[in-house]
């Protein structure tokens, strides 16, 4: 488990000339009891890794779908602690890599050192913190990296060249290319500037580049995938799980 495990999963996929697909789910949405089953299902559908959201009361980078899922998860009593504990329980049976995504405050309150150690115990392979830009990441970076867990950095369409170079340089596991100017959520079409943005990221990144935010159908995934190594799909997957429409999820992953 850890950074190298995640890298291997990505490399295996790319070596087989396939695109990486990382679905996002909200931990505790539908109850934590369904977590193990959902992870297994996503793996069987062909997901390369899973981004697992930990609910936060004030998720400023997220659109309505993930906000609502967070509200449901919090209402179920989901906490960073309970998710880590649950992951630890079925760590031995799980083979799909897990990337935790949450905001800095729950991690800060949990205790950064303790969080890093407990991620190891739970077999977490990577961590994404969307409100921790380059300027603030020193707060957790060393603790996470000491434990050989990938700290995945995000680039944005608004990032100037020098920041892109720095972000691409520092990222581990993959480079998360936020491919809309805005927040998470399904959108119908993508801006044309995205193509040159992804190409620029590819040019600087040593890790795979995955496009995310606003990807909701196989056509978009393929369009974006043409310029990078794959996609992260969040709101659409969260929505389909909430509707209980697992058939559509399977189709989305397999056709992307």
């Amino acid at each position: 488990m850890g950074k190298h495990y995640l890298e291997k999963a990505f490399n295996d996929k790319l070596s087989a000339n396939e695109k990486i697909f990382v679905p996002y789910i909200m931990a505790g949405d539908g109850g934590l009891d369904s977590l193990e089953e959902r992870l297994r299902f996503l793996q069987e559908c062909g997901a390369t890794a899973v981004e697992l959201g930990i609910p936060f009361s004030d998720p400023v980078a997220d659109g309505p779908t993930i906000q609502d899922a967070g509200v449901r998860a919090l209402a179920n009593g989901t906490t960073l602690h309970s998710v880590i504990e649950r992951l630890e329980q079925f760590k031995a049976e799980r083979t799909i890599p897990i990337i935790l995504m949450t905001y800095i405050n729950p991690i800060f309150i949990y205790g950064i050192e303790r969080f890093a150690s407990d991620c190891v115990k739970a077999g977490v392979d990577g961590v994404i913190v969307p409100d921790l830009p380059l300027e603030e990441e020193a707060m957790i970076a060393d603790y996470i990296q000491d434990k050989e867990i990938a700290l995945i950095r995000l680039a944005a369409l608004t990032s100037p060249e020098e920041r892109i170079v720095e972000i691409a340089e520092r990222t581990e596991g993959f480079l998360y290319a936020v491919s809309v100017t805005g927040i998470t959520g399904a959108r119908t079409s993508h801006q044309t500037e995205v193509k040159s943005y992804l190409q620029k990221l590819k040019q600087h990144a040593h890790a795979p580049v995955l496009a995310g935010f606003g990807v909701s159908n196989p056509k978009q995934a393929q369009e974006l995938g043409a310029y990078c190594d794959g996609v992260v799909v969040g709101s659409k997957i969260v929505d389909l799980f909430h509707q209980g429409n697992t058939e559509e999820i399977k189709k989305l992953i397999q056709e992307s």
């Binding site: 400023v60 906000q67 906490t79 949990y110 921790l132 990032s159 805005g182 927040i183």
Partner: protein, 404 residues
């Protein structure tokens, strides 16, 4: 107490000690950097300063009086009490000091659109006002609970040409309006400036808002000296996010003989869960881009704040207040809804001045403070806004008390 001389906060990283910072998605970072550069350049440009001073004088109506509250002083029989009359500003509160400055900055950055959040509606009105003045498009996010509490301010904003968007997420109050404004800004960052309403949010906002509000403290210092040839013994201001307090305190921070009191909203009491006394009862964390004291649970989920005053109903506080709290330079205390309501009526009757419910918290604490001081001493209350917006709610609260 550690000495704060010279006082140089924030540092170049936007930190006030360990507080502050820029905890925002990468998408917004370039806009914060652009804003910081534009701001630092603007305040060194005499043309910008002249423009700002012109609007503050001719449009806002500055300077505001520092009024010796003789009736209040006599009634309490102790120290001389002065009121800094921010309620006399155009739009009825201190908020416009900041919005004028930020709207002028917006134009300097070549942007023509503005987004803002509002709690009581005072900042929304102040933003909509300057947008009307300077021809900027304006979208204001406001929690649905606050919209209910402050209907007239919603109508005011609409009259001024702003679009008010209701926020139903979370508790439907100021914190949720800030979330939505940040999300909107992220989606429109290339042509839109976010005029944040208090000394909160990511750097450079807490500094910019403080600096634009510092006119309150600077005038107070000068006016008090003109009338008394000395400095006041104490200064009292209410603290929600804390912009009027920060603007009032900042010029006094290095005057160690001047005691500074920040008054938070104690709601139903700080021994209950229904209050907004962040510094009195909160824990350090990160919200809305800054590290500061927050009302939160043991898992780091932000809790709802409660106060009769919509403008103080915020579970965080400006990071510089956290710093001034930890260094003990400012004493932070709290006042309950009931005490604020009493002070609201008391000031109305003794001085013929109806204070905003927010400002009534400062007045209520001043009534206590007066008892601890003597007739040779004096202090200033920052009367941050007028209470016209609150009379309906106060009427309902008083009738409720009578019936209940």
């Amino acid at each position: 107490m550690i000495t704060l001389k010279p006082y140089t906060m924030p540092n170049t990283k936007g930190r006030y000690g360990k507080f502050g910072g820029k905890f925002v998605p990468e998408l917004l970072m370039p806009a914060l950097i652009e804003l910081e550069e534009a701001y630092e350049k603007a305040i060194k440009d005499p043309e910008f300063i002249n423009q700002l001073n012109y609007y503050l004088k001719q449009y806002v109506g500055r300077e505001t009086p520092l009024y010796y509250a003789e009736n209040l002083t006599k009634q309490l029989g102790g120290p001389k009490i002065y009121l800094k009359r921010e309620d006399l500003n155009h739009t009825g509160a201190h908020k416009i000091n900041n919005t004028v400055g930020q709207a002028l900055l917006t134009l300097r950055m070549g942007k023509r659109k503005v987004v803002a959040e509002t709690g009581a509606g005072q900042h929304g009105v102040a933003t909509a006002t300057v947008c009307a003045l300077l021809g900027l498009d304006c979208v204001v996010f406001m929690g649905e609970e606050d919209i209910r509490r402050q209907k007239l301010n919603v109508f005011r904003m609409e009259l001024l040409g702003a679009e008010v968007r209701s926020v139903s997420q979370g508790s439907g109050t100021l914190k949720d309006a800030v979330n939505e404004a940040l999300r909107y800004w992220a989606s429109h960052v290339t042509d839109t400036h976010y005029i944040i309403g208090s000394v909160v949010g990511p750097h450079p906002f807490p500094k910019i808002v403080r600096d634009f509000q510092t006119v309150i403290g600077e005038e107070t210092k000068k006016q008090f000296y003109e009338q008394n040839e000395t400095l006041p013994d104490a200064v009292v201001a209410c603290v929600g996010g804390g912009s009027n307090a920060m603007g009032m305190f900042y010029p006094f921070v290095q005057d160690e003989d001047v005691a500074l009191y920040g008054v938070e909203a104690g709601g139903a009491g700080i021994d209950t869960t229904k209050h907004a006394a962040t510094l009195t009862d909160g824990k350090v964390g990160v919200l809305h881009g800054t590290m500061t004291h927050l009302l939160q649970d043991e898992d780091g989920q932000i809790q709802e704040a409660f106060s009769i005053s919509a403008g103080l109903d915020y579970p965080g506080v400006g990071p510089e207040h956290s710093y001034l709290h930890d260094t003990s330079r400012v004493t932070y205390t709290s006042i309950t809804d009931k005490e604020a309501l009493d002070a609201f009526q008391f000031l109305s009757k003794t001085e013929g001045i109806i204070p905003a419910l927010e400002s009534a918290h400062a007045v209520a604490y001043a009534l206590k403070l007066a008892k601890e001081m003597n007739g040779n001493q004096s202090f200033v209350i920052c009367l941050s806004g007028r209470g016209d917006k609150d009379v309906e709610q106060v009427k309902a609260a008083l009738e409720g008390n009578k019936n209940g």
